[in-house]
């Protein structure tokens, strides 16, 4: 059986084992003894997150998706820290195919929630990097604030990102991006941008 972080791409990788590992990978990972404080490495993580933010702000969604592993998940939980996605609906829970679908939908010209398209700027800060049991995988926690301008109004999205990144030599790929909105339990107006 394929593992979440395995190197062989399978189009149908979301199974019970994946969910179990996902829940486990996203609980209790911020351990002081695992924090990576090396400024050079931390800066490489920061630059990668900045790159992701720039692709989203510039609506270069195909380039954005290339930052993600073939067996990735984009997860915006509807609970505080992300409980068990097998038992709760998420604000969004996209595997690779659903991310491709999401981008496809936005490109049809008939996704009215994005006509006109939102203009965004993303600020990312307070970056912390943590080692995991696997040498090539790190968890990166950050705070974000995204200002969205659309149809004459300016709005804010705020929260925390948790990126599970694999170091593939001179770059990273995103295995999982979890987005914890501070208002995850409130009614959200037009949540149609990728956070």
């Amino acid at each position: 059986m394929q593992t979440v972080d395995g190197s062989i791409h399978t189009p149908h990788y979301i199974d019970d084992e994946y969910y179990q590992k996902l829940v486990s990978d996203f609980s209790g990972w911020r351990r002081a003894d695992r924090e990576v404080t090396d400024p050079v490495f931390r800066d490489s993580c920061r630059r990668f997150l900045d790159l992701e933010a720039r692709f989203l702000d510039e609506i270069r969604l195909e380039d954005w998706l290339k930052l993600y592993a073939p067996n990735c998940v984009y997860w915006v939980p509807s609970s505080a820290e992300g409980g068990d996605p097998r038992k709760e609906v998420s604000i969004s829970f996209d595997d690779r195919r659903r991310l491709e679908d999401r981008i496809f939908r936005l490109s049809t010209g008939a996704a009215w929630s994005q006509r006109p398209t939102s203009r965004t700027v993303r600020l990312i800060s307070n970056i912390e990097v943590y080692a995991t049991d696997q040498l090539e995988i790190v968890m990166v926690r950050s705070n974000f604030q995204t200002t969205e301008f659309r149809a004459g109004e300016t709005r804010l999205w705020s929260g925390r990102y948790s990126h599970r990144l694999r170091d593939v030599g001179n770059e990273f790929e995103i295995l999982v991006k979890q987005v914890n909105l501070i208002n995850y339990d409130q009614n959200l107006r037009n949540p149609s941008i990728i956070l």
């Binding site: 199974d15 019970d16 038992k87 609906v89 939908r105 049809t108 008939a110 009215w112």
Partner: protein, 463 residues
């Protein structure tokens, strides 16, 4: 609570008793056979009247029993703008308490759900049992009054009733029984529940959305088969992009939807039902076949077929969207596997909360498949709020924007009107082709009747 300008023709602090003197708007003029006036959507004063004449007068959906499964469980809710605590009290009775301290008016419960035998007001410490009865006040020797007087107990919705897990309440002592109010819309609700083991579901978490528009825009849309191909064009394209036969999702609207077997039914009291089931073959596995792609789809299908054999199709159907829209006036919608609740915030702001539902299998009918069914049911339920509803809500907001053109007064709802043999009627139940607007015209008649009537509003308190 108001957004924008107050209505200057209406006095401040209008109480329901003053409103009982009669409506100040001309609903006869504003609601006609084929059209309604834009002010129904844009006028703050009309919204203020709706809070009493609609949300005080009819059975309003408040909560689901699976949200308060045990004694002392509570969930907060609203009836119009009235803040409520829906609680299963220590005796097991479900009550709808006003979340309003009888002392100075503060809300006493600020958590959205939980378990509590009593509630203490954070402001001055007055405490209440979860029956609503006052249990004590700090330093009572400073009061000359008798605190056993019922007027110090929390106000409550006087009539609270449940239909198969759905809890409703009304302030109107003259309203019919809940059963009579629901009437024949109970049939599709029964069907929707009975496809599940034990005839029930439990609520999961929700996709919570909001739009800057009037609450009736959601009700107008709720059985609207006319908008599907247009408002949801990107969703349909997305769902079918890998499928040459293009049968996924709501593809049955393509071509000539009025010639398809689906139909819309309007029931008395403003309820209605869009039944798309006749488009689908009545056999196990047929729902699963039109479900759009979602994370884990192939894995779980293979697992189910291997593990459950001939029972796999039923299990997969339970994770698939049921093709119905059941709409209970004014604020409850059962569609797909969702329970959608409309919460008005102001004349131009509305929350629409899409509760996910999960299958419960107390008797083991599903041979242990229930957890896996719910795993994939969570994913199928995320699709429409993410890729469909957002576009509707954008369109609702643009209706609200368009209606600011106040001299262009009318909103038309006349699709199907005056066409011979298109609509049939029997005992107040209308049946029409899927894109017909008959349900809007008929619910607006009910709305007009309510807005020009005086409900017999009351609250109650424990004694």
């Amino acid at each position: 609570m108001w957004q924008g300008e107050r209505d200057v023709t209406k006095p401040e602090n209008t109480s329901p008793a003053v409103e009982a003197a009669g409506p100040i708007f001309d609903y006869e003029m504003m609601i006609q056979e084929d059209k309604v006036h834009q002010r129904l959507y844009t006028e703050p004063g009309i919204f203020r009247e709706e809070l009493t004449r609609i949300f005080g007068a009819v059975w309003v959906y408040l909560a689901h029993e699976s949200q308060v499964p045990e004694k002392d469980n509570f969930v907060t809710s609203r009836m119009g703008l009235r803040p409520l605590i829906i609680v299963r009290d220590s005796q097991g009775d479900i009550r709808a308490l006003y979340n309003r301290c009888t002392h100075r008016g503060s809300t006493i419960c600020r958590q959205s759900s939980g378990s509590a035998k009593s509630f203490q007001c954070p402001y001055h410490g007055w405490s209440y049992f979860n029956s609503g009865k006052l249990s004590g006040v700090p330093w009572p020797e400073g009061y000359a009054c008798d605190f056993s007087d019922a007027k110090y107990n929390l106000a409550q919705v006087p009539r609270v009733a449940s239909f198969r897990g759905f809890i409703f309440g009304t302030l109107n002592l003259d309203a019919p029984s809940l059963g009579d109010y629901l009437g024949p819309v109970r049939e599709p609700i029964n069907d929707w529940l009975d496809r599940h083991p034990g005839g029930k579901v439990k609520f999961s978490s929700a996709n919570r959305l909001k739009y800057m528009g009037n609450w009736k825009l959601a009700y107008d849309n709720s059985a609207d088969g006319y908008h599907v191909l247009f408002s949801h064009r990107s969703l349909l394209a997305m769902e079918n992009r890998h499928h040459e036969d293009e049968r996924k999702g709501m593809s049955f609207y393509k071509g000539s939807p009025d010639g398809a077997p689906m139909y819309v039914k309007y029931y008395p009291n403003g309820h209605h039902f869009k039944d798309k089931r006749p488009n689908i073959e009545n056999r196990p596995g047929a729902l699963w076949e039109i479900e759009g792609t979602f994370p884990g789809m192939e894995h779980y299908e293979a697992l189910f077929r291997e593990r459950y054999g001939v029972k796999a199709d039923r299990a997969l159907d339970l994770a698939s969207s049921e093709p119905v829209n059941i709409n209970v006036f004014p604020n409850l919608h059962i569609l797909g596997n969702h329970v959608q609740v409309t919460q008005p915030i102001s004349y131009n702001e509305t929350d629409t909360t899409w509760y996910g539902t999960a299958v419960v299998d107390d008797d083991g009918e599903l041979s242990g498949a229930v957890d896996d069914i719910n795993t994939i049911r969570m994913r199928t339920q995320e699709a429409f709020p993410n890729f469909g509803e957002v576009d509707d809500l954008a369109n609702f907001e643009q209706i609200q924007a368009g209606l600011a053109a106040e001299e262009d007064e009318w909103v038309y709802m006349h699709r199907g009107l005056g066409i011979k043999d298109r609509i049939t009627e029997e005992d107040g139940v209308f049946t029409a082709p899927a894109t017909d607007e008959v349900f809007m015209r008929e619910y607006m008649k009910v709305y007009k009747n309510l807005m020009t009537s005086t409900p017999n509003i009351a609250i109650t308190r424990e004694v």
